[in-house]
Symmetry: C2
Subunit: 227 residues, 2 copies
């Protein structure tokens, strides 16, 4: 399912700006200089402004009338709210996946799970994360709910830029793995209610945010000083 290459300029520009925000090349709260970006992209203002409007409706950018665009500030509350929401969506994905996933799909996720476990035992955090994410994505896809997928991707995009700086305690990690063990059991039994419950309460959605407090505070201070 490769994406249709949009040859539309505004779509291309939107992607680029999304990436810049994600990587922090445009910092939170920072003004987005229209003219300047146009020059770097080599496009006129029209497609850039269209892109900014789209990004605003995606929640990445804020448009102040007659005062230009800013990268939307991520407050602690906003990130927390987003994670709560993503938890609910993952819960739904689990419920639906239980009902719709094929036996082969379950096998595939079990394989990913085993892979993740071995990375856990070897304390390979990066690899663990990658596979962990794959598992959650697999459930999302198996849910067969396209609107759900779209919403989840949007929410995920909004908080991507803070996710990098995550620190993980040993205790948190252990409990996350325990959650995953339970998830696999529920999935094999196709116990949708149970899998939904586990995913909604899954540690990722709760503790991860707690560890971000200072990161976001720092970010806010920096941009406050800049203004």
């Amino acid at each position: 399912m490769s994406k249709i290459q949009h040859r539309n300029l505004y779509g291309e520009v939107a992607d680029r700006v999304r990436n810049m925000i994600e990587r922090g090349e445009l910092a939170s709260g920072e003004r987005i200089p229209e003219r300047e970006l146009c020059d770097t992209f080599g496009v006129s203002r029209t497609p850039l402004r269209e892109a900014l409007k789209v990004l605003a409706s995606e929640g990445l950018v804020e448009l102040l009338p007659n005062r230009g665009a800013r990268v939307k500030q991520l407050t602690y509350k906003m990130v927390k709210d987003t994670y709560d929401l993503m938890g609910a969506l993952e819960g739904l994905s689990g419920e639906l996946a239980c009902q719709r996933i094929s036996d082969e799909g379950i096998d595939a996720i079990c394989a990913l799970h085993d892979e993740m476990l071995s990375f856990y035992r070897e304390r390979k955090a990066m690899e663990y994360f990658r596979v962990n994410q794959q598992i959650h994505e697999s459930l999302l896809n198996a849910s067969g709910n396209d609107v759900l997928l779209e919403m989840y991707n949007n929410l995920s995009q909004r908080v991507k830029r803070v996710r990098y700086s995550k620190e993980m305690s040993e205790d948190y990690w252990r409990r996350a793995v325990e959650d995953h063990e339970e998830m696999i059991v529920a999935l094999k039994q196709r116990d949708s209610k149970r899998l939904g419950q586990i995913l909604r309460d899954h540690l990722c959605n709760k503790l991860e945010v707690a560890s971000l407090t200072d990161v976001i505070d720092v970010e806010q201070k920096r941009s406050a000083a800049a203004s």
Copy 2:
């Protein structure tokens, strides 16, 4: 909390087009004639095109490269998916509301509930719907999760145009009211898990869709014939 009047033309236009889609003045799948709409609104193409891009990212409109904008077709599956999602969001709103709502807030919802009950007894469907909606909105607001509210409103907007043609069976209505009775009990006890569960399973999210099958089929046939 009155909305800030955006003096931006594109925002105004987006609102107008949203309304037109909601009311069916622009039918599902229908081409959106740029020039024509510009004339009726008395604006140039720039703000209209900006608005269309926003509406596309809201999922109301589809933009085909070099082939203009169309009102997004609502398939049965899409509406079903959306309702499933809204159910999950309402569930979360209930969980959060239980934790955050004030005692006065609970009283207010109980009052709405009683009002709704009396409309049910008198079989006043329109009034029942209005109050019913108020209850769910109250929970959404009491959740204190702004991102949740934003997402819910977006989803709700997407399916608004089919909601009107809802037919309600006596049996469905009775069970919906029973759900609401249970909701009130859970809310008073601040039993967040329970309220969440009820809301997720609430009939509105499931049966309402079933009764829409033919409506959407008709709509699809009509627009298929037009194309």
